[in-house]
């Protein structure tokens, strides 16, 4: 009897992530004592949003086929787009093929979030000051984290052990690395009251330490005139379409009309021109990415509100770690660092892609919009503050190189190149390939080790600056003040 109920529960809720995330939102809203109609609409929007996202994901997989098949067939090459959405898509496709349950990703996310709350609540011991609340990033990171564990640790595959391990690992990363950005973000923003909770937190920390040494902050970006056309890259639809047209277009040209016609991807008999075929095919990526993001936006909006409401009730005085774009308004160069960061990151990525081709890498990397823009723009803002134009140029160029090389390694090493994508943001091309590699080779031991080593980081930060440590985040958090007011 119990088994029957469990089976029914599993098949209809647990194995259906859209309904599962809807219920998480519903429970969150109920705990916040929202009126029943708000709970209901939250449930509906989270569920519908998730299904929209899946529709976009399905479309992306289809548009990818000619390119994946062609590269494999003709050149024994795999291509991966380094972009968190393509990476997310790749993991979901891989999960489907393995017969694994994608809802487990949502459970892992929930465990990670709760773990982050616990780490903040115990801040006197853990020295963690930040709660990671960037919902769409949490979905992507829990996804990639779970994949790394499922493929690396056999006894954790597709079960609750793996889910809990992923929650603890990813939750520790959220807490520790967002905590690592507190000082630099507060300095940049004049104590605006937030930390970065995104995909390049290690990058922000490195930039903050390095930029001043390699650059000169007196020579800021603001004195430079910027070509106006760069403005179009502020529009994600235009930016994605342009990047995809350029890179996938080049691949389609190399594959050639004969090959694509022979495999029935392209139909010249209908009178379709090859150039129109290229344009239509590549623009489809922007179309499905748009649908996918619309779905993500819808369900994440509900999820974030539910999570934020709950955490506000439990935790007072902790610092929210939010989207990296929140620092853009604090750019000392009035936004120019953002576009220059993007520009130098893009140059770095192009150079690295050419190097991959020249050295016959088995995995070809296609730059996705999110890492090349958001990572490098963010690093650019921090770099300009400490190291001026020179600091920005060097750091963002190197970041571009690292993103492509790290992404190529990770996409190949963790088997996701076969599904066409890798997470691809800075931390996921540096820190996480390292953690992932350890997990593949040392299994569950590596997970435990990674968590412990990460948890030591805030202890070291605290030791260096005992007095101002908690005050840097929020005066209310100072344990010395609250325990003995004398």
């Amino acid at each position: 009897m119990v088994l029957v109920i469990w089976k029914g529960l599993f098949a209809n809720i647990m194995a259906e992530p859209a309904i599962f995330i809807g219920l998480i939102v519903l429970i969150g809203y109920a705990l916040l004592r929202k009126p029943w109609y708000d709970c209901f609409s939250g449930f509906i929007k989270a569920t519908v949003g998730f299904f929209i996202m899946q529709a976009g994901a399905g479309g992306l997989v289809n548009s990818f086929r000619p390119i994946m098949v062609g590269l494999k067939d003709r050149f024994e090459l795999q291509a991966a787009v380094i972009d968190p959405y393509f990476g997310f898509n790749a993991v979901n496709a891989a999960f489907a093929q393995m017969g694994w349950t994608t809802s487990l990703i949502m459970v892992a996310l929930l465990v990670a979030f709760v773990w982050n709350i616990i780490l903040v609540a115990l801040h006197r011991i853990t020295k963690i000051r930040t709660l990671f609340i960037t919902g769409h990033i949490m979905v992507q990171q829990a996804t990639t984290g779970l994949w790394l564990i499922f493929i690396g640790v056999p006894f954790m595959q597709n079960n609750i052990y793996g889910v809990v391990a992923c929650g603890l690992l990813v939750g520790t990363y959220w807490a520790v690395f967002s905590n690592l950005t507190v000082e630099s973000t507060q300095e940049l923003t004049g104590n605006a009251g937030f930390a970065v909770g995104h995909q390049q937190m290690l990058g922000v920390w490195i930039t903050d330490k390095v930029a001043g040494k390699i650059g000169n902050k007196e020579k800021s970006v603001e004195h430079l005139e910027l070509p106006g056309f760069l403005q179009i890259f502020n529009d994600n639809v235009v930016a994605t379409s342009t990047l995809m047209l350029f890179f996938f277009g080049a691949i389609l040209v190399v594959l050639g009309p004969e090959y694509l016609a022979k495999n029935k991807f392209f139909n010249p008999a209908s009178g379709e021109l090859f150039i129109k075929y290229i344009f239509k095919t590549t623009i489809q990526f922007a179309v499905y990415l748009y649908i996918l993001s619309a779905g993500v936006r819808m369900f994440v909006a509900e999820m974030t509100e539910s999570f934020k409401g709950i955490s506000d009730k439990i935790l007072k005085g902790s610092l929210p770690a939010i989207d990296c774009a929140a620092v853009y308004g604090f750019d000392a160069a009035g936004g120019n660092s953002i576009l220059f960061g993007f520009l130098f990151g893009a140059i770095g990525q192009f150079v690295a892609v050419i190097a991959l081709i020249a050295f016959h890498s088995p995995v070809l990397i296609i730059p996705g919009f999110v890492p090349v823009f958001f990572d490098n723009a963010t690093l650019g803002v921090f770099a300009n503050k400490k190291g001026g134009f020179r600091g920005l140029a060097i750091i963002c160029f190197c970041s571009g190189l690292i993103q492509v090389f790290g992404g190529a390694f990770a996409a190949g090493a963790f088997g996701l190149a076969a599904y066409g994508g890798w997470h691809g943001n800075f931390d996921w091309d540096t820190l996480w390939p390292g953690i992932g590699w350890l997990i593949q080779n040392f299994g569950s031991l590596a997970i435990a080790l990674a968590i412990i080593v990460m948890l030591i980081i805030p202890q070291l930060q605290y030791r260096r600056n005992k007095k101002g440590y908690f005050a840097a985040a929020n005066p209310d958090m100072e344990p010395e003040l609250s325990t003995n007011p004398a």
């Binding site: 923003t189 937030f194 502020n234 993001s293 936006r297 974030t304 509100e305 929140a326 308004g329």
Partner: protein, 93 residues
């Protein structure tokens, strides 16, 4: 009912934060407002359907205000004080 949109690069993280903050401010000022969030690309095409567009200061140049539409650029997205001051300065309430 005031129609408001919060916009950011990808229409995900930052605009969602701004949306929650402006909803709080409007609630406190007892102004009925319907608040959406989306990417700059979308918001640009739809700006004329809204009374107010909120975005980060660095993105203000992307928008052209109109007879109906006011553009408000924020420096600190988390500061409800700044939002309130700028709403008042723009003469919305």
């Amino acid at each position: 009912m005031l129609k408001v949109v919060a916009a950011c690069g990808n229409g995900m993280g930052t605009s969602q934060i701004i949306k929650m903050k402006i909803s709080n401010v409007f609630k406190r000022l007892s102004v009925q407002a319907d608040v959406h969030h989306m990417s700059v690309g979308e918001a640009k095409s739809q700006a004329s359907n809204f009374d107010v567009v909120f975005c980060s200061e660095s993105l203000m140049s992307q928008f052209k205000g109109g007879a109906r539409t006011k553009i408000i650029g924020l420096k600190n997205l988390l500061s409800e004080q700044e939002i309130e001051d700028k709403i008042k300065a723009a003469g919305i309430v």
